[in-house]
Structure formats: structure tokens, C-alpha cells
Amino acid sequence: MSAGIVPYVVEERPDTGFNNATLGIWLFLASEVMLFGALFSSYILLRVGAAHWPSGASILNIPLATFNTFILVGSSIAVVFAWAGLKENNFGQFKKCMAVSMLCGLAFLVLKTFEYKMKFVHGLFPSTSTFLAIYFTMTGLHALHIIGGLIVNGYLWGPGSKMFKEDPHHFTHRVEIAGIYWHFVDLLWVILLFPVLYLL
């Protein structure tokens, strides 16, 4: 509705070098860094104060999580190629690669669900120990972020992709923004959650 009256939706403002959504998504990511930073800080505090803290390897399924990590990395790479397809006016490539990315994201969630279920089956609940509490909370919050990303990517792949015909630049920009968010969620897992929870 207000699309016509707000400038710099796609083109960059000269003195800031940004368009609106790019600046917006980076600010959002800064707040996400604070969110997971707070959880990470809580992890350190709880671990230092604990009499006994299990190593990730002794409780968690590392081979499964490693496989899951590479699935997520793959989904990020797929998003890059989806975006590249749009830049080169190859809508088919966008559709294919975005679908691959979403399937990878979905697979990640499925494996995560399986992982959680295996914990519950063995009587390992969030209430069992502080390690498990922070593990379930951090990975659970991360999974919620994946679900959010899948919803956005799904919209852009499906009903939202109609915009490519009328306004390819705007649509490509939207995919780029969604991609930045998706990479962040992926990097959060690869750099922080997986090494800290599973390996340390």
C-alpha cells in the first residue's frame, strides 16, 4: 500500500550506501547476536559453576549432528545459487536451488526431531541436568529460527515469486535479504552451537 511513497526500497541511498531492507536485516542480526550471546554467556556461567559437566561427546550423537551440519551448510550454498540464478535472470535455477535449500532445512529439522526423540526415549530431558537444559534451549531456539526462515523462504519460493515477473530487482533483493538471514542461522550453528554444545 505504501510501496510507492517510501524511497530506497531497492536502490541505495547515496550517503549511507544502503537500501532499507539491507540495513534492517543487519540490525536484526545484531540483535540476534545479542540474543545468542546471552545464551552463550549463560552457558559459560552455568558450566563454570557446575560441579560436574558432561562433555558433549558423551551424551550427544556427534555423527548425526555432523551430518546435520553439512546439510545446513548445503542449504546455505543452495540459497546462494538461487540468488545467483535470479541475478542472471534464470528463474528456473532459482526455483530449483531454493527448493533444494528448503529441503535441506527441512531435513535438518527432521534429524533434529529424531535426535530429541532419542534423548527423551533414554530419559534425558531438559530437567535432567543443566547441560541438557541449555542444550535443548539453545538448539530449540535455533530450530525455531530455522522454522521462521523456512516460512519466509517458502513464501518467496511459492506465492511471493510472482513478483519476479513485474519487478525482478525488488524480488531478487528480497531473496538476497532472506539469504542473509539464512546464512546467519546456518553460521550460528556451524560456528557456535555445534562446536560448543557437541564438541566441548
Binding site: G17, W26, A57, I77, H173, L199
Partner: protein, 123 residues
């Protein structure tokens, strides 16, 4: 996006991303190998883990700097964020070190006592 003439072209971007994720994957495998296959002691695992995390972070920042040519606002925002995250990371330090003389963190003591006394769900 391409109004900024310094920003990389599409194929350059794809190249940067691919290299980024490739490097991250390799480092991740190194970390897994260290912990899962070589069974190093905990404190070594911590040190190795922290080094690898720092390495990954540096590579990410470096890669994204190439996209963010001349975008001072974001650099400033993330510098502030980084400083505040470091502040947040002070919390464990504040909580556990530098207590008043004569007071201790009895939580650890209590945990060990209750473990010996037995009776909570296994750990």
C-alpha cells in the same frame, strides 16, 4: 545492490560464499576429528575448540567485509554489538570470581554434597 560500483559481481559473490562455506566445513571436520577420534583431554579440547571458533569467526567477518564495501554503519553497529557481547560474557566472570572475602559460591559445594547423598536423576 549494484549501484555501489565497488561491490563484487554475482559470480565473485558466489565464489566468496563457496570458499567461505568450504573453509568452514574443513575446520568443522578438524574439530570433530580432534574431539571424536583422538580423545584429547577436556582442557585441550576447550583450547582447540576456542581457537577453531575464533578462526571461523574471523573468516566469516573477512568474507562479509568484501560484500560490505564502505558500509560504515554496519561496521559500527557490529563493533558495538561485539563490545556488548563481550560485556555479556563478563557475567560469568563477575558471578564466580571476585567475591567478598569470606563468602564463596556454595552452589558447587551443594551440588557435590547432594551427589554424594545420592538421589537426583542421573547426570
Amino acid at each position: 545492490m549494484s549501484a555501489n560500483t565497488n561491490s563484487p559481481s554475482t559470480s565473485q559473490m558466489v565464489g566468496i560464499y563457496s570458499r567461505l562455506f568450504g573453509l568452514l566445513s574443513v575446520i568443522t571436520l578438524v574439530g570433530i576429528a580432534a574431539v571424536y577420534f583422538f580423545h584429547i583431554p577436556v582442557w585441550v579440547a576447550m583450547a582447540v575448540g576456542l581457537v577453531l571458533i575464533a578462526l571461523k569467526g574471523t573468516i566469516v567477518v573477512d568474507s562479509f567485509k568484501q560484500f560490505m564495501v564502505g558500509r560504515n554503519i554496519i561496521v559500527m553497529v557490529f563493533t558495538m554489538t561485539g563490545i556488548f557481547v563481550l560485556g555479556l560474557l563478563l557475567l560469568p566472570v563477575l558471578n564466580h570470581s571476585d567475591r567478598l572475602v569470606g563468602t564463596q559460591d556454595i552452589s558447587k559445594q551443594m551440588q557435590m554434597e547432594t551427589k554424594e547423598g545420592g538421589g537426583h536423576h542421573g547426570d
